[in-house]
Each structure stands twice: as structure tokens, then as C-alpha cells.
Amino acid sequence: MENIRNFCIIAHIDHGKSTLADRLLQTTGTISDRELQEQTLDDMDLERERGITIKSHAIQMEYTFQGKPYILNLIDTPGHVDFSYEVSRSIASCEGALLIVDATQGIQAQTISNLYLAIENDLEIIPVLNKMDLDSAMPEEVKDQIVDLIGCKREDIIPASGKTGLGVEEILKAVIERVPAPVGDPNAPLQALIFDSVFDSYRGINAYFKVLNGEIKKGEKVKFIATNKEYHADEIGTLKLKQVPKSVIKTGDVGYIISGIKVAKEVKVGDTITTVANPAPAIQGFEDVKPMVFAGIYPIETDDYEELRDSMEKLQLNDASLTFEPESSAALGFGFRCGFLGMLHMEIIQERLEREFGMTVITTVPNVSYHCFLTSDKEKAIVLNNPSDFPDPSRIERIEEPYIKASVITKSDYVGSIMTLCIEKRGELTNQVYLTSNRVELNFNIPLSEIVFDFYDRLKSISRGYASFDYHPIGFRESNLVKMDILLNGDQVDALSALVHKDNAYDLGKKICNKLRELIPRQQFNIAIQAAIGSKIIARESLSALRKDVTAKCYGGDISRKRKLLEKQKEGKKKMKQIGSVEVPPKAFLAVLKLND
């Protein structure tokens, strides 16, 4: 046990975490140069494209230091605000953390919140200053920030470069010398913490765990405490680039278990594995993930509902934070109300459904969870995750909406415009701190629903990408909210209803109608697009009928070409959702999110 080191990496997106991780794998010989694809740890295509690690992974390295062999378990963590629960589980499995800071950019908001999480878990922090090879590196300034933040010594900060390999040996040395070996009782009953799981269509679910106490043996009968299910440990092993089966995983080590589990919900990140023969209590701190943002996901063809359910269940296998339950919409038929950790998470789920399962879906306007109090019972909150569930306004006493405390770190040049944005979004400034002479941290209390509506994109464009953002919920507050409906040729489209602040309703209604007019293609008839509060129309746009769509020539050589062309046109129409007689493209359902494009 004394030669095991478990550590994770805390870094902001694009601060070079994956490249540096690759260097560690290469130096320890875990992966040959030939095998080294860029960013080895990110193996989902989507991750590679977006350059973010969505799912955490683990990999074991063997390294001999001063004549002694060591086992180093690197537990990779996602870097985006939406995935903080997964980060917290990864962190709980480690004794140390590499804090990677981009020497050209300095500390970002997300890094700070994950860092605090690591400090709370008593992790040994090893600060690393990455991208030292770049001309724009400002090592001294960034070192000041790090020293200020974690109170380390300047000389403890390791200068590194994932690109050139600078500092890699020193990082490995620091991990061995500074990160404590795991503690645990090898003789105690088994307690293993599940920090991740992936789905394999041949072998079922692979759960990744760290053994806190005791040991786990192949073939043993084990129990997952939170779900209260028992299984045989059919295969256990450690995680190299590929899985390496072992007969036992001992205290302090990290491994995987395959036990023929087929149902997603049976493996929960944060759950404890113990043995049936000699059970131990659950490890503290397990929580079911709490979704923050809700949206409907519907198949375009109503017949595909079952297939969608199947795909969602499979997705849930390796994304424990996705929740969903069946719902139905007058406009869209049967689908699911899904809970997401945040907006990025929602986009990722939608994209994964498309790429991995070939499901084109309609995602409805996302909303947060509201508390509604009726005049008949002013004390009891009804939780509403869907605008169309809203009771008649005359019965509502008050509505409360979730607020968050938001932290934005940015260059001082952009403070003014970021404040304007936050105020427009109903935020109130609570604090403003200069981290250095030109880096400011702003704190706001702001309704979560305002973050859902085109906040990220605008923050990014206002700050030319130089603002980082983090948040955590701070409870519910009363708000003057109204339900705004959208009508197409007089038919209400329930999937487009949204709860909005009364003061913003007119402006928003106008923008949404305008956006829909752009997104809905002209059809064989005129279309009226209206926004309404109750029976009152607050905005209206009209889309005139298609005027000209006719091929000039259709002779012998044209027939099959034109047929194929029109078959494509037909396919395009099929991808649209029929609302009354109006064909609406799936992207229109998210129109409200991109009002300022």
C-alpha cells in the first residue's frame, strides 16, 4: 500500500491537462509512442472534438523511483462546471492533486472551485505551471496567483510543458514524494468507492472503484450498498491503457469490476461496494445527482419512442448524472423530461444521442425547477420542472425560482460590460475582488433560469473568451414570473412555452417570434407566429407562403437526378415536426437559446 499513489488533475479547459497526462503515460512507459494518440485519456470522439473531458477515466502507471517500484493511479476529471459531482467523486478517490495552471492565462474560476473541493478533501496539492514553452507565458505573475491561492512556497511550483516534456520527471517525483500513500485497513471488511462506470455492449457495465478498506477478490459475492443489489465479481482488474484482469485488488488501489450488470441504474457513482459474506457500512458522502436544468427530449417520429428510451438508458449507463422520466406533449407526442447538470451537459447528451445511437431528437426549451405556491395552500411548494404543468395563474399565490451565486473571473477591461450583462439578466453584484492588477473576480446572485437563456455565449463574446464562470445554487427566491406561450397558426406549441420574468416578456416574445420566422422554412401557406401570455397576444410575426419552387427542365437525363433531389427534399420534410399543419425544424425548438445570434 505504501507504494501506491492516487492522484487527480485539476485544470481549466484548455490548460493542457490531457497533453500533460499523455506525457506522464509516455514517461512511465504505460503507453508506447506509437500508441500515443493525442489526448489518450479522452476516448470519446465528442470529447476529442470539444477538447473537454466529459467523463472521468482512470489509468494505472508503474514507475520505479530510487530503486523502488511504485503504482501511480491517475484519475482523470472533467473540467467543466456542469460536471462537478463527478469531479467530487474522483477527488474523493485520491490523496493528491496536480493543480495545472496555464502560464499564459492564470487561474480561472472553475479551477478555483475544484481546488477548494480538493482542499476540503485534504488532498495534497502539487501546483504545476504548464505551457512554459510559449512566449506569452507569464510565470512570475501566475506564480503570485498560485501562492496567494493555496499558500504554497514559490519553489514548490513545478514549471512544465506538455508539449516539450519539461517538468514531467519532476512531477512524477513530486507525486511519489509529496502525495501520501493511501490509508486503509487491509484487514477490515471491504469498502470500495465507485467513482465512475462505463457501458460495454458485450460485457455490461464496468464500474471503476477505489478500495478504501479490505480487498476485493475475483469471484467473490459483492453487494452495492445504495442500490442493495448483490453480484458475483466475475472479473476484476486494474486499468492500464486496456483492462488487465487480476485476482485481487488490495487496499488503496484502483480497479474495475465486471459483474454482468446490465441495467444502468444499478451502478451509481459514489456508491460503496462491500462483500456479502462480511459487509461493511457505506462510505459517507453519497448523493444522488441533482439535475439543475430540465428539458424535454422527443423523437421526431413518434414510432421511435421505444428506441429513444433504450438509447437514453444506455447513455445513463456511463452518465450517472442524466435523469429522465416519460412525459407527453400535445405538440410532440411521447418523450422524456430530462434533467441535466447544466447547458453543456444537455448539448452533449443531444449530440451523443445523434452520434452514438443515430437518434435525431427534438430538445425543447430548457427550464429550471420552480416552486409554486397555491392560494389554497400557501405553505406547500409544488415542484414544477415543466412550464406546461403550470397551474392556472389565478390559483397561484407566488412562484419561487432557484438562484445561484455566480463567480466570474475576467480581465479588468471587461468588467463594465460583464456587469451590464449580469444586471440585464436580473443579477445583483455581491462582491468584486482584484486578484491581480488586471484580473477581477466578480460575484453575483442571479436566477439560474437566466443562465440557461443565452448567458454563456454572450459572456464569452463580451470577454473575447477571457472570462471564466462558475456557480453554485443558493436556494429559492420569489419572482414575478409569467408563462409565455407560442402559437403557430393559432395552435399552441406547448414545447415552446417558457416561464419568463414579466418585465422581459414583451421583449423576449418579440425576439422569439422573430427567430422562429427565420428558422421555419416557408411552406405552402402563410403562417402566423404569435407569443401570448394567457389569452393576450404580446408579439406577432408572419411568414408568407412559399412562392417559387419549381424545376425548369425535366427531360430524359434529368428524371432520376430530379427524383433523387426531391426525395432528399422529402427526407428533409420528414425530419421536421408537424405542428398542426406547420412543419417545424427541430432546431426551432431551441430558438430561444440563440436569440442574439
Binding site: Q524, R547, K548, V550, C554, G556, L566, Q569
Partner: protein, 373 residues
């Protein structure tokens, strides 16, 4: 076999709107004519009934001289059974037409001329990079009529920004004045690999607005109707007795054989299309290697083609024919889709079935694809 199409892939120069396959070099002409004759021989076994129409298209068939055409006609006659009253058309550019050429055509049995006029304004012809002038176009038509060609069709283009409403009216009046019995009038379509597309992309020219194009289209329909033409297909107008038999056969789903580079054929539920590159086509024919691709038309595809071609004509969809040709499910599909289009007044009922309404013509593609399976 209803129709025989011969593709002549040579032109003097490239028109700015054209994306057809052709060469401006006549170097390969002899070899190509030989290859055409070989293909005619190879394909002769496909025909079971006499040929009703022959059509020389291009490219520019009027670039061929008498000897070239004679070789082709000899080959056709020795390999196919040709109906006595066959309609035999050749596409001509006005600048190629003269008395000698016309008398040669007569001698060969050609009885219909398709003259590529496009516009009676020099500025438009220059814009399209045509080789002839407006004056030559008029002269070519008069010469043809003097030579005894009664069955003449003229091509015109409309719906481009240089063509004012007044000019369009004058072009149509000229058709009337010259007593042309058949007119093909096309909205300018800018295809991807053309000079016009380049000019459009680089903002040197503009598209005409849909509204104005529709206005010119409407004028075309009204004017031709007022002078006794029938709009028997979206872009084709004929006086009584002058409907093109060859083209009508395409739209009525009859079989046809296409000879030459890039030519298409439709035989026994299969569509073939030849290689489009002249040199490769010639080589493949000479060396007896595959020179065409083919596609089997299944029932759904056949139904889609049926809807596509029929609905473009004034005869429309014959409902009995649809019921006989296709299975019950397809008929049911048609019934439910056509109902909606009827309610929207985009198609109308006729004695025998359905055809496009006056409004439906302008968005024919949208209507047709709605009916597709």
C-alpha cells in the same frame, strides 16, 4: 422502344449557364461518331418495337456536317426499325443554320428543328455567351420556314435580372410574329459549375427576386394562352398538333434509348447512364469495357418518378393508371397526401385524376415531393 436520343457532345463555346457535358475541340469527332455507331449496334437488341421518335441533342448537333449525320442515320436505319411517321428532331444553333444545311436535313428525313434562340436581345446573348446575334436568330427561323420546316421549336430563357418585363414581352411577341408553333421557356437556373455561378458568388451579378420571376412566369402562361398555345408541361408550350412527341414520351414513362456520352436510357425498369467524358467513353466503347452505370427502379422509385413526370404535364396523374401500376399501399399513400394538397388548392381534380392548379405550378417541386413515398 418509343424514343432514340443521340447526344452530340461538341460546342463552339461554352454558354455561361451550361453544365452539360461537351468539348469545344472537334479533334475527337470522327472517333466519336464511330463510337456512337458502335453503341447503336450494341444496343440494337434492346428494342422490341419500332422507334417513334429520334432526337439529336447536345452539345450542338448542328456542328455536325452532312457526312457525319449520314453515317449516323445509316447506322440507325440498319440497326433499328423506324416508324414511317417518326418525329426526327435536331437541336440547332442559329449561327449554324443556312440553306444548304437545311436542305441536307430535309434529305436525311429530319422533320423538326429545335432552335436555341434564348433571347432576341444581343445584350442577353452576350451575357449567356451565345455564339449568335438576335438578327441571326430571326434569320435562322425565317430560313427554316422557307426551307419547308413547319415544326419548329424555340428555346427562350427568362427570370434573370437583365431581362426586364418589357423585354420579356417583346421576346414572346416575336415568337407570335414569327408564327413559331412550339416554345420551351425556362427560368434561368444557375447550376454549380457554371460561369454564372462564379459571377453570382463573386457578386458580379444578382439573382432576380422570386416575385419577379413568378411575374414573368405568369405573364408567359397568360400570353401564350392568349395566342393559342397549350402549356402541356411546366416549361413547354405548343399550338395544336405541335406537342413534342419525343419529350412527351419521357413524361409518359415510355422507354427510350440514349446513345453517346452522358446519355440516359430507360429500358425495362432500369435507368442507364453512359460515361460523360468523351475520351473515356470512346475508349470504353472501343475496348469493350463498361461504358455505363445502371440503376434498377423499384416500385417506390417508379411511383415517385410517375408523380414527378406526370404532375408536370397538363394531362396530370391518371388515377386509374396509378391504381393499376402500383400496390394498394402506394395508392393509399397517394390518397391521403393528395387530399391535403387538394384542400390547399395546389392540385385540382380532372376527369381522369389530378393535375397541378394554377398556384401549384409555381411550387411544383414542393407539391411533388409531398406526394413522394
Amino acid at each position: 422502344m418509343a424514343g432514340l436520343y443521340i447526344h452530340i457532345p461538341f460546342c463552339k463555346q461554352k454558354c455561361s449557364y451550361c453544365d452539360f457535358h461537351f468539348s469545344t475541340s472537334l479533334k475527337n469527332k470522327k472517333a466519336l461518331i464511330q463510337a456512337l455507331c458502335s453503341e447503336i449496334r450494341l444496343r440494337s437488341s434492346l428494342t422490341k418495337t419500332p422507334i417513334e421518335t429520334i432526337y439529336f441533342g447536345g452539345g450542338t448537333p448542328s456542328l455536325l456536317n452532312y457526312d457525319d449525320l449520314k453515317i449516323l442515320f445509316d447506322s440507325i436505319h440498319s440497326n433499328f426499325d423506324i416508324c414511317k411517321e417518326a418525329e426526327i428532331t435536331i437541336e440547332c444553333n442559329p449561327d449554324d443554320i443556312n440553306e444548304i444545311k437545311l436542305s441536307e436535313y430535309k434529305k436525311l428525313g429530319i422533320n423538326r428543328l429545335s432552335i436555341g434562340v434564348q433571347s432576341f436581345y444581343d445584350e442577353d446573348l452576350c451575357f449567356f455567351n451565345r455564339a449568335h446575334s438576335a438578327k441571326e436568330a430571326t434569320k435562322a427561323i425565317l430560313l427554316s420556314q422557307d426551307a419547308g420546316f413547319e415544326n419548329i421549336t424555340v428555346d427562350l430563357i427568362y427570370g434573370f435580372s437583365m431581362l426586364t418585363q418589357k423585354k420579356w414581352e417583346n421576346n414572346l411577341k416575336k415568337i407570335e410574329k414569327l408564327k413559331i408553333p412550339h416554345l420551351s421557356a425556362y427560368t434561368l437556373t444557375i447550376e454549380p459549375k457554371t460561369t454564372l455561378n462564379y459571377l453570382l458568388k463573386t457578386k458580379k451579378i444578382n439573382n432576380m427576386s422570386d416575385e419577379l420571376v413568378i411575374q414573368q412566369f405568369q405573364f408567359l402562361i397568360d400570353y401564350t394562352s392568349s395566342i393559342g398555345f397549350e402549356q402541356y408541361e411546366i416549361s413547354n408550350f405548343a399550338k395544336q398538333g405541335f406537342i413534342s412527341k419525343h419529350n412527351s414520351n419521357y413524361w409518359l414513362g415510355k422507354e427510350y434509348l440514349g446513345i453517346g456520352p452522358s446519355a440516359h436510357s430507360y429500358v425495362e425498369n432500369k435507368r442507364f447512364w453512359n460515361l460523360s467524358n468523351n475520351a473515356i467513353y470512346i475508349k470504353s466503347i472501343q475496348q469493350n469495357t463498361p461504358f455505363y452505370e445502371e440503376e434498377w427502379i423499384n416500385e417506390n422509385m417508379a411511383y415517385n418518378e410517375f408523380v414527378l413526370t406526370r404532375l408536370r404535364t397538363s394531362w396530370g396523374i391518371n388515377y386509374n393508371e396509378l391504381i393499376i401500376k402500383f400496390n394498394v399501399e402506394i395508392a393509399r399513400h397517394f390518397n391521403s397526401k393528395s387530399q391535403i394538397l387538394l384542400e390547399r388548392n395546389l392540385i385540382i381534380k380532372t376527369n381522369t385524376g389530378f393535375c397541378l392548379s394554377k398556384q401549384g405550378i409555381f411550387i411544383a417541386d414542393s407539391v411533388i415531393s409531398d406526394l413522394f413515398i
